[in-house]
């Protein structure tokens, strides 16, 4: 019985799923609605009524019957399908669906109100005389006792000139005999008879034949134009005395009443004509329309989520490939047996190819069209816009875009929520739209498409947009973020606040989208799917959410990492960058704030998660000088104080550790600066490998043991016993046959208790710290030595390359030195040329630092060790000042001279500029006024100096506010503004915005200068109205830019 019920419910749910769309179409077409469609819905309601009656689901039966009455009135044009009618029907079918989801408790459902509404609706369309018929029953005498039927049904039967029969039937015959299910039985009945009631009478069981193993006795009350004989045929040739006529055909003429049994045995009867009646009857061809496809009769008990429909074509492809695989295996065996290398390699190729194809086809079987999710949206939007009194035009694009089954299922809820949000909060009401001069009907678009190996789903509205400041204010009011942290936030940052837990934009929480589920839940769900969401919103213009999804979840490129001998896979999509902290950097870059370790990465503060902590792996460390590992009792990486290293010891030349490999600045450094293996090995025991990972909006640092290869891994689900571990998204089998767990980056952060850092109070503190650090100005210096014990430095940005050379490679011509370099000769300078202290030309550790001066390359001689360091120490521009040396700084308790290549060249070879033919540069400036905003004394002095040398007149200011005041003062003279980004009081972005928004200054060209250009900065700069970006000490480029802009 349970099996039958399950089959019936599966079948019913499948029909219910399509009804919604049908009803919406019916509503749209109004009076001209397709009768066939109404009939289809009616037929489904009819079958549900029958089946639920059979299973004793009285509540379901009654509701289905109520819906049926309305649908019948639509079919007979008694009623027009307007919004009110369809609303009620949708409501009824929704309720049916809910009840069928849980048939066991459906009897407890209280549908009285809904039934009453259906009844009222039907009644309002009936003529006065018939109104009463809705609530009246007519009693019939039957051999099995009195039987009551709703009068409204009886009236209809009379009207159609049909007869009413009571049929005692045992469904077992039909079900067992034909392999049918209950739903299909009632469905097929529809072609020839209308079911009025279905009664399971347990008392009757005894009177039936006993030889049946599983009797399923029931009494059916049907209305049909047929006579007893064909009816008997309809019910598996039951005995005629089991068919009792309760009501004869009406008096109205019914010329076509006679039916041959032949027509009935035909699986798709085409000519079951109905008697003409005063009401336009349904054309019979419709009633007899082809039954719904029944191919899925074999549906198992498994829930719908565990099964998948796959096209036969795909299965055939799979079969073919499997066949080929078998062939190849046989070949492989032969090859192995014969030890035939040639054959082996050809088989290898073949198997390779088949595997790839197999993988491809199997992937395809998992794909489902987006349409499956989109199908419910018209209804959602329609209901919601009606409730809110808004007019919305929903456009759906890309139904055919196919995605992995799990993605499709997982997308449904988040998308629905976002759609609701768009209608509720995004789109304005009609009067408001008119006031704003927008078209009265709100536009809502949901679109799916493929883009660069990813699937994109976009939900866009033309509503009011997200107001970043209002969002920020609201977040502060709710105590989600600190007031101070707002200042540093960009517009997208502020808009992303809606993803914070506990955030809701509506001032009043409506019952529509404010259901206690916020965008944070949407975000979490999308994270789990590997999706990333972006917001593009313009105030007053609308909002668009872009969701990026991996095309398939089953195979993902991943980075294999290891922690304490265990290997894990991190999906590549989650990885932002990888970095390695050398032991001596660990204490500088990792800090403990509150209870959490954080990593300082450029201007970001990222929470640090230690793998070993989250997963409870015992950390060990390599015992120096042995192969043993011991348990590391230091609780935090940041506690590992690196041994103090003197300059002489830091020999490695590495790119600055905090610049990502992906960044232009560091990739340049990587090309030119040779790595030295020695350093790596020495520090391997305590260096920290860190992966910066992201879930889309939340980024954090994950400290791992070591990085390995990138592999395309096949995701295999974990067993039930491990399903609750959200930190893993599955497992995969690595090339060597062992199993590695795949990390769920979102789940891992949840487990570690890391939430969005940019929103928390702690983050506010950190951001403030980071801010002060930035304001202190950090310099990148390339350290080298002149004479031993005489450390010198060049600003890193000015160095293009480092070359190792031997003393004999230096050629002397008089007092000038050159070396062969890239097919030409490179002039060489030395610090000693200006300081006069100790020549180094015979040193065996010679290096040449190549820079560009006035468009020509020039080399500076130095000796090893060479290192790149970051320092915040102040630069003393006086004590050691002399031509060629701009100043000095203290690094690791030693004085380091900072050289300036331009000055060196000028000092050593005063004729350089003339010979270089760069004399034009001097005239470019020609007294043009340039405003320079820069808070660092060193950089300001440097830039001012070379600008003035080029003939510009420089007005300089130490912060944005001062610069703005100065600009207003010199309004008519300033031609170009050069500004630093990070400054106290008013930063570069803000200064730029102010300049752009003031009509007096809007047209001024602005150049932003920075010590390192990051992509995110570039984007922000563009948004603030800054067109040009230069590196502070790249004199040539900056001068060229100023020259060009001031003309």
């Amino acid at each position: 019985m349970d099996e039958l019920l399950q089959e019936f419910i599966n079948e019913a749910q499948e029909h219910l799923a399509t009804i919604e769309e049908d009803l919406l179409t019916i509503e749209e077409d109004g009076a001209s609605a397709d009768k066939e469609l109404i009939n289809k819905v009616l037929r489904a309601a009819h079958s549900i009524k029958g089946g639920s009656g059979f299973f004793g689901l009285v509540q379901v039966k009654e509701l289905a019957h109520g819906a049926e009455t309305i649908l019948d009135m639509l079919r007979s044009d008694t009623m027009t399908p307007n919004a009110e009618v369809i609303n009620l029907l949708l409501n009824a079918f929704d309720t049916l669906r809910t009840m069928l989801d849980d048939p066991a408790s459906s009897e407890q459902a209280d549908n009285a109100a809904l039934l009453q509404s259906l009844n009222d609706l039907a009644s309002s369309y009936l003529p006065q005389a018939q109104k009463a018929s809705l609530n009246e029953d007519q009693i019939f005498d039957s051999p099995l006792g009195p039987l009551s039927l709703p009068k409204v049904d009886v009236d209809r039967v009379v009207r159609d000139a049909h007869s009413i029969y009571l049929v005692e039937f045992d469904l077992a015959e039909d079900i067992e005999g034909k392999g049918n299910d209950i739903f299909h039985f009632f469905d097929s009945l529809w072609d020839s008879a209308e079911l009025l009631d279905c009664i399971v009478n347990t008392q009757v069981v005894g009177t039936l034949e006993h030889d049946l193993v599983r009797p399923l006795p029931l009494q059916l009350v049907i209305a049909t134009p047929l006579e007893k004989a064909p009816i008997s045929h309809l019910f598996a040739d039951i005995d005629l005395n089991r068919i009792h006529q309760l009501l004869g055909p009406a008096l109205a003429p019914a010329p076509e009443r006679a039916f041959s049994t032949q027509a009935l045995t035909d699986p798709t009867p085409t000519a079951l004509a109905q008697p003409a009646a005063q009401q336009p009857p349904v054309p019979t061809s419709e009633r007899a329309s082809k039954p719904e496809p029944t191919a899925d009769a074999e549906r198992s008990k498994m829930s719908a989520d565990d099964t998948l429909r796959v096209s036969v074509k795909l299965l055939e492809d799979l079969m073919n490939l499997a066949g080929e695989l078998v062939l190849s295996r046989n070949q492989l065996r032969t090859a192995v047996a014969m030890d035939d290398r040639l054959l082996l390699s050809s088989v290898d190729q073949r198997i390779n190819q088949i595997t790839a194809e197999l993988q491809d086809v199997i992937m395809q079987t998992r794909l489902q069209p987006m349409g499956n999710v989109f199908a419910r949206f018209p209804r959602v939007v329609r209901d919601l816009s009606q409730t809110l009194g808004k007019q919305v035009d929903l456009q759906i694009i890309g139904k055919e875009v196919a995605l992995d089954k799990t993605l499709i299922e997982g997308l449904s809820d988040p998308l629905t929520h976002m759609l609701r949000n768009a209608v509720d909060h995004g789109l304005e009401s009609e009067p408001e739209r008119r006031r704003k001069g927008k078209p009265p009907i709100g536009q809502l678009r949901i679109e799916a498409r493929y883009e660069a190996g990813q699937a994109i789903v976009e939900i866009a509205d033309d509503g009011k947009g997200l107001d970043p400041d209002a969002l920020a204010a609201s977040a502060v009011r709710k105590g989600l973020i600190a007031q101070e942290s707002i200042q540093g936030m960009s517009m997208p940052d502020k808009q992303a606040l809606i993803f914070l837990p506990g955030f809701s934009t509506a001032e009043q929480v409506t019952d529509v989208s404010g259901r206690g589920v916020g965008m944070d839940v949407v975000k979490t769900n999308l994270d789990r799917l590997g999706g990333q969401v972006e917001i593009h919103s313009e105030l007053g213009q609308g909002t668009s959410f872009r969701i990026k999804l991996p095309l398939t979840l089953a195979i993902i490129p991943s980075l294999i990492v290891s922690v304490e001998q265990e290997r894990f896979a991190i999906p590549q999509a989650n990885i932002e960058e990888l970095l390695r902290l050398r032991p001596e950097e660990v204490s500088k870059r990792l800090e403990i704030v509150g209870d959490r370790e954080v990593l300082l990465l450029r201007d970001r503060v990222l929470p640090l998660i230690r793998f070993t902590d989250v997963l409870g792996i015992l950390p060990t460390y390599q015992v120096p000088g042995s192969d043993q590992r011991e348990i590391d009792r230091r609780t935090r990486i940041a506690d590992r104080r690196a041994p103090k290293l003197g300059l002489d010891q830091t020999v490695s030349v590495q790119p600055p550790e905090n610049s990502a490999p992906a960044e232009p600045a560091s990739s340049r450094a990587e090309q030119v600066l040779p790595r030295q293996g020695r350093e790596r090995r020495r520090s391997a025991a305590s260096a920290v490998e860190i992966a910066i990972v992201t879930t889309g909006t939340l980024s954090y640092a994950l400290a791992v043991g070591a990085f390995h290869d990138t592999e395309e891994v096949v995701v295999k689900p974990l067993g039930r016993r491990l399903k609750h571990l959200h930190e893993y998204s599955g497992a995969t089998i690595l090339g060597d046959g062992t199993v590695a767990l795949i990390l769920d980056i979102a789940g891992l952060s949840a487990k570690a208790g890391v939430t969005s850092v940019s929103g928390s109070m702690r983050a506010a503190q950190l951001a403030a710290q980071a801010e002060t650090r930035r304001l202190r100005d950090v310099y990148w210096l390339l350290l080298f030595h002149n004479a031993p014990d005489q450390p010198c430095a060049l600003p890193l940005d000015t160095v293009q390359r480092i070359e190792r050379i031997r003393p004999e490679q230096i050629h002397h011509f008089g007092n000038r030195r050159t070396m062969h370099y890239r097919g030409g000769s490179l002039p060489l300078m030395a610090i000693a040329d200006v300081t006069g202290s100790g020549s180094i030309e015979t040193s065996s550790d010679l290096v040449v630092l190549v820079s560009s001066v006035a468009g020509r390359e020039v080399g500076l001689l130095g000796t090893l060790p060479v290192d790149v360091v970051q320092t915040e120490a102040a630069i003393d521009q006086r004590t050691h000042r002399q031509p060629g040396i701009t100043g000095s700084t203290i690094f690791q308790e030693r004085t380091v001279l900072i050289a300036d290549m331009h000055e060196l060249v000028t000092a050593v070879q005063p004729d350089w500029h003339e010979t270089a033919g760069e004399d034009t540069q001097e005239q470019v400036g020609d007294g043009v006024n340039v405003l320079l905003a820069e808070d660092s004394d060193f950089f300001r002095a440097q830039m001012k100096k070379f600008l003035e040398e080029s003939g510009y007149n420089v007005w300089d200011a130490a912060d944005g506010e001062a610069a703005w005041a100065l600009l207003l003062d010199k309004l008519d003279t300033v031609r170009v503004v050069i500004t630093d980004i990070e400054m106290p009081r008013l930063n570069g972005f803000e200064l730029a915005s102010r300049i752009r928004n003031d009509s007096r200054t809007a047209a001024l060209p602005i150049i932003a200068v920075t010590s390192l250009a990051g992509n995110e900065d570039l984007a922000r700069a563009k948004a603030a109205g800054i067109e040009h970006y230069q590196i502070k000490l790249d004199r040539e480029q900056l001068l060229a830019q100023v020259g060009q802009l001031s003309q």
Binding site: E566, G719, R720, R721, L725, Y728, I733, T738, V739
Partner: protein, 151 residues
């Protein structure tokens, strides 16, 4: 299969050693017996889950049968084996100390579980088979897949 309906006539069981005791389970359920192989530890997993391993491309959840039955823990020795049992389309490997043999048991050789046994263990057994001096406890396979509520 449950405790109220003792196995009819003959039953083939796989006998194994677990923390010193002898146990047996319906051999038809055991798809294969394999060596422990390389296990991948799953951090954060329930106590009885020793790890996961690859079995011809399938991920098998390896359960310490002793831990699961509250008997102690299986020491992974060269004798240790995994009994591969499928349950609800998933493969489990039950880690046992040693697999002895497959036994053909007569129904009437199986005695009811003595009430002196610890109730927790008793509820997991179908019966006891007495042979020479040793008792073999026959495990109820249904109970094998009943997990404690998540703590």
């Amino acid at each position: 299969m449950n405790a109220t309906s003792p196995p009819k006539e003959k039953q083939l069981v796989t006998a194994f050693r677990l923390c010193g005791g002898l146990f047996a389970i319906n051999a038809q359920l055991v798809q294969e017996v394999i060596r422990v192989g390389e296990l991948t530890q799953v951090y954060g997993a329930p106590d009885e889950v020793v790890g996961i391993r690859n079995l011809r491309g399938r991920i098998v959840t390896v359960i310490d049968a002793a831990a699961h039955l509250n008997l102690g823990r299986v020491e992974i020795s060269p004798e240790a084996r995994l009994l591969i049992i499928e349950h609800q389309q998933e493969h489990y490997g039950f880690l046992v100390d040693q697999v002895i043999e497959a036994l053909d048991l007569d129904q009437d050789q199986i005695e009811p579980v003595p009430s002196s046994l610890e109730p927790a263990l008793r509820s997991r057994l179908l019966g006891i088979w007495r042979h020479t001096d040793e008792l073999t406890a026959i495990l109820d396979p249904e109970v094998l897949f009943r997990w404690p509520e998540k703590q």
